[in-house]
């Protein structure tokens, strides 16, 4: 079990994110349909599929993240373009100088990315958005890392917190985005952005773990 993975050649992690979004397309739209406008799957899939076509499979993790971020910002629009674009851009920028990525670096980068996302979107935990996944997941990773857990356990902690954050949105009343207009009627439904964010973080955890396993 390794405690780091090589940045170079790890574009496949990002390609796996793209594939996971592609597979969740209909489910994401369905979740968005309950209290939003039903296009979250379409929006996400368009961006991630386009990015997957542009990503050089032999490139580095951080370069692939940059291509994904640029594609989202430049070609997708919506809310998800700037939000996920900023998130992945921040991750990419933080990791681009590393040849090998360890838990500490990854955790710091993740925390920065979650912060950039919060700043741009003006969303806070509890608003019933993808922030309710990204923030607790990044915090759980860092907490595990700080108590000395290995990279792989940190990833498990992240994945668990991501899942819990995702599920927690069901009980929340939306305060931002289209669903906010529903007021109390938004309670009892999962949030779409939280759903896609969880798909992304679960896939990320699985893929990096696999790399650490060798």
């Amino acid at each position: 079990m390794s405690e780091k993975f090589s940045n170079a050649g790890s574009a496949d992690i990002v390609l796996a994110l793209c594939a996971a979004i592609h597979e969740s397309k209909d489910y994401l739209s369905e979740v968005d349909g309950a209290i939003g406008d039903g296009d979250h799957g379409v929006n996400m899939n368009k961006g991630f599929t386009l990015a997957s076509q542009r990503i050089d499979a032999s490139s580095s993790f951080s370069d692939a993240l940059e291509v994904l971020a640029d594609t989202l910002v430049d070609d997708i629009g919506g809310s998800m373009g700037p939000i996920y674009g900023t998130f992945f851009m921040s991750l990419s920028e933080n990791l681009s100088s590393s040849d090998e990525i360890n838990a500490k670096e990854f955790g710091n980068s993740l925390a920065d990315a979650a912060q950039a996302l919060e700043d741009l979107a003006g969303a806070r935990p509890g608003d019933k958005t993808l922030v309710d996944v990204a923030v607790p997941a990044s915090e759980a990773f860092q907490a595990a890392e700080q108590r000395g857990d290995g990279f792989s356990s940190c990833l498990s902690a992240m994945a668990e917190a991501s899942e819990a954050g995702w599920k927690s949105t069901e009980g929340m009343q939306a305060r931002l985005g289209r669903a906010a207009r529903l007021g109390e009627r938004s309670i009892g439904h999962l949030d779409a952005g939280a759903t896609s964010c969880n798909v992304i973080l679960q896939t990320m955890a699985k893929e990096i773990s696999a790399k650490l396993q060798g």
Partner: protein, 334 residues
């Protein structure tokens, strides 16, 4: 719904060439970005403040239909009901700039806010002077003490009309921004939804309205309104809408207003005139005079059923702006 489309995921790609060809005397696409529609009048005559807008597609004639002479100079085109990219907004700003700065006049939606913010960050590095006005005329979308949370709806048309006119009159960026801001500050709207619409790529209605009921305060992507009520007749709807709008900003006796009534897509214009008849008489009863009115499909939501009412209170400057001539694909005024 049976549609006239090719690929449901490619509506915007498939629509733009038809729009551009049909309106080639007025608009063209930027050579740098196919999602940036530019008025042919940009660069003609003396330099003036550029007017930029943009938003999701599916709201015809918003947004591209208002691109042309003396209204909007460049429009960023998004996917259906989805904000355009920051890149498209950026290119709009570059195209609209003739050295006197650019006013970005858009609606208050999370995506638009973020994409415009990212675009601004980039073009300001290029030395272009940019300022924004964010439309928030929908009284149903938040209480009056939280106007910054309110959505922009059909009142945006009047904001563009006034901002565009002020720019054409030679106003500075500050003057144009002040005028557009005043226009939207003096404007209130409300919508009533009667039937849902379907984003073709999703394939099913993303909300439902029970036959026999209506949703008061619906947003133009189907965002839920403030209440669902038994369906009223046209007079009942008009009374309710006039009350909602007039009680939000004290439009009162002696005021001059512009009335803009729009269908949401599926409601025939004839029915909008039935509504108008009562709106006009309700306003008269309140001592409010209608200086000018626009009735038709000015800001739609795909094939949603329903109507919106927008009132703008006039002062001398806004009156002059409303009267100013425009020549765009959707609105031509002598």
């Amino acid at each position: 719904m049976q549609r006239v489309i090719n690929d449901p995921d490619m509506l915007v790609e498939d629509m733009l060439p038809g729009f551009l060809e049909a309106n080639k005397s007025l608009v063209h696409a930027s050579s740098e970005n196919p999602r940036t529609v530019v008025s042919n009048f940009v660069g003609q005559g003396a330099p003036r403040v550029g007017i930029v807008s943009g938003g999701g597609s599916g709201h015809w004639p918003a947004f591209i239909g208002y691109c042309g002479q003396n209204m909007v100079d460049a429009v960023a085109v998004g996917e259906i009901f989805s904000s355009p990219t920051a890149k498209a907004f950026e290119q709009c700003i570059r195209e609209a700039d003739s050295g006197k700065g650019v006013a970005v006049l858009y609606g208050n939606y999370a995506g638009d806010n973020m994409n415009v913010k990212m675009a601004l960050r980039r073009v300001e590095k290029e030395g272009i002077h940019v300022a924004t006005v964010v439309a928030n005329d929908d009284v149903a979308s938040a209480p009056s003490d939280q106007r910054d949370r309110r959505r922009g709806v059909a009142g945006e048309v009047l904001m563009w009309k006034c901002g565009g006119a002020r720019a054409a009159m030679g106003g500075s960026l500050e003057e144009v921004i002040a005028c557009a801001q005043k226009a939207i500050d003096n404007t209130r709207s409300i919508g009533i939804g009667l039937s849902p619409c379907t984003i073709p790529s999703y394939g099913k209605p993303n909300f439902s309205i029970e036959p026999g009921s209506m949703e008061v305060g619906i947003g133009h992507h189907g965002e839920p309104g403030i209440k669902v009520e038994p369906l009223k007749d046209a007079n009942g709807m008009a009374d309710e809408m006039v009350e909602a709008v007039c009680s939000d900003l004290p439009f009162g006796s002696g005021d001059d207003v512009v009335v803009l009534i729009s269908g949401l897509g599926a409601t025939p214009v004839m029915e909008q005139y039935i509504l108008s008849a009562r709106v006009f008489s309700d306003l008269k009863d309140r001592g409010i005079s209608v200086y000018k009115s626009y009735v038709g499909n000015w800001f739609t939501s795909l094939e949603m059923g329903g109507v919106t009412l927008t009132l703008m209170k006039l002062d001398d400057e806004l009156r002059e702006c409303v009267d100013f001539s425009v020549n765009t694909p959707a609105l031509v005024q002598l």
